[in-house]
């Protein structure tokens, strides 16, 4: 019997965008408010997990064609890479740099290299969580 879960699918289509927005908000808020790379990544991956549960894995893998192991590796590379920037600028390992920039629309914003590190953390979390979920859901 084919289950007709049209309500679940319709709700998910809307809710996923709310979750994704919340994830980005949490990620960017991390510097001055509760949030940051880890929790942002976790919320982001919960959106992916919801999609995998509601639709089937093949459909989503077609829609989001990433190898999530490599996403995790890319994140780790970004995080370690910000450390290695220290060798280029001749400062102690993992020193952060920040500056104030006038962006159009946003006004004056503080941009720091910690954000790149946190982006790495978020990508690692997303990659690891989705890899775990996909691996244990596979038939052996």
């Amino acid at each position: 019997m084919k289950i007709n879960n049209v309500i679940l699918r319709t709700v998910t289509r809307i809710v996923v965008y709310i979750i994704l927005t919340l994830a980005v908000y949490l990620f960017l808020a991390g510097h001055n408010n509760p949030g940051g790379g880890f929790i942002g990544g976790l919320v982001l991956s919960s959106a992916f997990v919801l999609l995998f549960i509601v639709f089937d894995i093949e459909t989503i893998e077609k829609a989001i064609p990433f190898d999530f192991k490599k996403v995790a590796a890319l994140g780790a590379f970004l995080a370690v890479g910000t450390g290695f920037g220290a060798f280029v600028f001749d400062v102690p390992f993992l020193t952060q740099a920040f500056g104030y920039f006038n962006l159009p629309f946003f006004g004056e914003v503080e941009l720091t290299t910690v954000t790149i590190f946190e982006l790495g953390v978020a990508l690692v979390v997303v990659g690891v969580v989705v890899t775990i979920i996909l691996s244990i859901s596979e038939d052996v």
Partner: protein, 493 residues
């Protein structure tokens, strides 16, 4: 700027991450891994010589001065260990190239070896207690994967035991750190040491030191070694050699560091207990080493004997004894790697791990047989080889302080080591050969060359004791005088 200090940990991490992207290019994986190990050897040698001239080096991450930030500290003791780790890692990688097999290599084997080395090097170099915990976890997570990789039934069984026991001991480690942080209010190692010296080592702090001792004893197989023989006999040979050479040594390093830097005010209690534990693990390891006919079990129990022997030096705690411990630690890392590689190769060519089922191997593989002879006399402590000087110095230390029981146990255990390996040598290498020349497994050069290199290293370490003497005595001196360490971290602006 001492950014060089972070490279022994950061380079393997970076290499491990990059290798994930090149999962199927095996040649590239091998090249990068080996290159990183060689780079680390070079860095360690350079740092050793700089420490001789400039004293202890430190790197404050992010420019935060101690005690507020995390830092890496390079004193002679840690850099000697980093050097030996890199040498052993390079040689074990060489062995892995021709033995580990394609299926392992494609499952990110080299990435995890790199992460393991990063964790080990980070543990040796860090100057922050919680960072030590994190590095332990980096090392342990990689070792969980390496022990289970391959997915044989026995590997899964032993890896469950290994993971459970290590999760438990890591949890104890966290609790011990929490207690200590609650008592002294800092996590920087030099600052902890200073705070403890100011307040005196109260009974509470001595109690905390016992929690630390339990944790590190579980990690290093000091008395609490029940998990060790099983776990170390299931992974592939190259991995077992890395484990036997490196993992328990990190626990030993942590015990030595903690009990020379923090808890050195009440040695009558703490160091006596370490001495008792070391003595009992010598006895237990000796019984295990003569009790089994499975080569892997005998070799694993030899690791336990080595741990007990090194910690006798700490328990005695004189300059000579600590120097002996450091020499023996260096020797033990090299020789245990060699012993595991030889045992694994024997099992591969004979098709069985039982002593009863092989004999006369020296007829088929003469060079291989004599390599085993070298490792045997080196472990027993024959003079031209590397085990000798460590044993003599530890013996001298025990005589100086009148700990004759430990002296007797230490030297009796040497005889047991010799006996247990001589039994393998006589049963497996001598006698009528059981492999005809037609169906013998050809000895690959890739198996033999790493063993030859390690044998050369043990001979070199034995003959070149004079070369290492200034570094080792500097290391022992720093361990005995924590004030040197504290001054270099907290008061050297």
């Amino acid at each position: 700027m001492n950014n060089l200090l972070v490279l022994p940990m950061a380079l393997p991490v970076l290499a491990g991450i990059i290798l994930i992207f090149f999962r199927n290019q095996i040649k590239l994986q091998r090249g990068i891994s080996l290159g990183v190990s060689f780079a680390n050897i070079g860095i360690a040698i350079y740092l050793l010589n700089r420490i001789q001239e400039e004293g202890i080096l430190r790197l404050d991450f992010g420019g935060w001065e101690p005690p507020f930030g995390i830092l890496f500290v390079a004193d002679s003791f840690s850099v000697i260990l980093v050097l030996i780790t890199s040498i052993v890692a390079a040689i074990c990688l060489l062995y892995a190239f021709s033995s580990i097999g394609k299926s392992h290599e494609k499952m990110l084997f080299y990435s995890f070896v790199n992460f393991l080395i990063a964790g080990v090097n980070g543990s040796f170099l860090t100057g922050d207690l919680f960072n030590l915990y994190v590095n332990f976890e980096v090392m342990l997570l990689a070792s969980y994967v390496l022990i289970a990789l391959g997915g044989k039934k026995i590997q899964l069984r032993e890896s469950i035991k290994y993971v459970v026991i290590n999760v438990l001991s890591s949890w104890f480690f966290l609790i011990a750190i929490a207690y200590l942080y609650g008592s002294v209010g800092t996590l920087n190692m030099a600052h902890i040491s200073e705070r403890i010296a100011e307040s005196g080592q109260t009974p509470l702090l001595t109690g905390i030191s016992m929690v630390f001792l339990t944790v590190f004893a579980l990690k290093s197989g000091l008395l609490l070694y029940f998990w060790l023989p099983g776990s170390y006999s299931v992974p592939p040979t190259a991995v077992a050699a890395l484990f036997g050479a490196l993992l328990t040594k990190v626990g030993i390093y942590a015990i030595i560091r903690v009990f020379t830097l923090f808890f050195y005010h009440d040695p009558d209690f703490t160091h006596t207990i370490i001495g008792i534990l070391a003595g009992v693990s010598l006895i237990g390891g000796s019984i295990g080493a003569v009790a089994y006919k499975d080569i892997r079990q005998i070799v694993s129990y030899n690791v336990v004997i080595g741990v007990g022997f090194i910690l006798i030096g700490l328990s005695v705690g004189t300059q000579a004894a600590l120097e002996g411990s450091i020499y023996y630690l260096m020797h033990d890392m090299i020789v245990k790697a060699l012993l595991f590689l030889l045992a694994g190769t024997m099992i591969k060519v004979a098709g069985s791990a039982s002593m009863d089922e092989m004999s006369g191997l020296i007829r088929n593989y003469p060079l291989f047989g004599w390599l085993f002879f070298i490792v045997m006399i080196s472990l027993a402590g024959m003079p031209p080889l590397s085990g000798f000087i460590g044993k003599v110095l530890i013996g001298q230390g025990t005589v100086e302080t009148g700990s004759y029981v430990l002296l007797a146990l230490a030297f009796l255990s040497s005889i047991v080591v010799l006996y247990s390996l001589l039994r393998i040598f006589l049963n497996c290498f001598w006698g009528e050969t059981m492999i005809s020349f037609e169906d013998e497994v050809p000895m690959k050069m890739g198996w033999l060359i790493p063993c030859v290199l390690l044998s050369a290293a043990t001979i070199g370490l034995g003959l070149g004791t004079e070369v290492f003497a200034p570094y080792v005595s500097d290391a022992a001196n720093t361990l005995l005088n924590p004030q040197i360490y504290i001054d270099a971290i907290l008061y050297d602006k």
